[in-house]
Point group: C2
Chain length 149, copies 2
Amino acid sequence: MIQPFDDFYFMKKALQEAEFAFDKGEIPVGAVIVLNDKIIARAHNLTETLNDVTAHAEMQAFTAAADFLGGKYLKNCTLYVTLEPCQMCAGASYWTQIGRIVYGASEPERGFVNLKITLHPKTKVISGVLENKCSQILKRFFIQKRNLN
Amino acid sequence: MIQPFDDFYFMKKALQEAEFAFDKGEIPVGAVIVLNDKIIARAHNLTETLNDVTAHAEMQAFTAAADFLGGKYLKNCTLYVTLEPCQMCAGASYWTQIGRIVYGASEPERGFVNLKITLHPKTKVISGVLENKCSQILKRFFIQKRNLN
C-alpha cells in the first residue's frame, strides 16, 4: 500500500522551510508540525532576521500550532525538524506534551540528546530521517558563509 | 553609601510583574532585564492568555530586551526572575549569553538546577533573592485556584 504521508514526506516539507531560511542568510533549520497527516504549522529559523535567539524554527512552530489548535498542548502532534532540537526547544517541547519528535541531522554539541534534556514522558523520538539532506544544507550554508567572509 | 539599585530593588520590580500575572489568572512569575541599572524589559507569564507554553516571563523578556538593544546578545545584562527558570528558559539564556541570572524562589522539580541544564559559561547565577515573597505569591495563587475549583 502506498503511504504518501510518511515521515520522509513531512521531513521534506521541513527541508523546504530550511531552504527558505538559507535564502534569508539564516542558519538553515526548518520545522513543520503535523496532526492527522495535516501540516498545522510551518516555520524556519529567524534568529538573525528578528534579532532574537528564541526564534528557532521549533519555537515558532510550537506557537503557531497552539494558535491553530486554540489550545496549548500538542499531545497528538508530531514535530518534524531538520536538526536535533537544542535544550531550549526540547524544554519547550516538554511543556507542549508533544506526541512525537522526528529530526534529521544530529547536533552532538548543543542538541538535547547529549545534553541529557528531559523530554515529556509521552514524547516519542525518531532520529536520522533524511539525515544526509538535513546536514548537507547546513554544510552548504557554512561553506558559503566562510567563503563570503 | 546608599545603593538604591541593588538585587532586591530589581527583584521587587520582577515581583510587580508577577502580581500582574496573578491578576490575569496566570501562574504568577515575573521578570525584568536590567542593563547599567536601567530596566530594559519587563514581562510576566502569559501562557494561558496567549495559549502558548513558550510565553514564560523570561522568554518574553529576552525577546523584548534584544529588541530594545537591537542585537541578540545580552552579555552585560542581568535577568531578575521570581522563579528559578525551567530548562526551556535556561536553554534560551544560553543563547543570549546573558551576564547574570538572579532568581527568587527555587523550583526543585522543573527548574534548571536539578535538571542540570548547562548555562552559558559567562552567566553568573544568584539565587534566593526575596525568596519568601517570590514563593508566597505562587502559594497564594495555587490556594486561590484550589478554592475556586
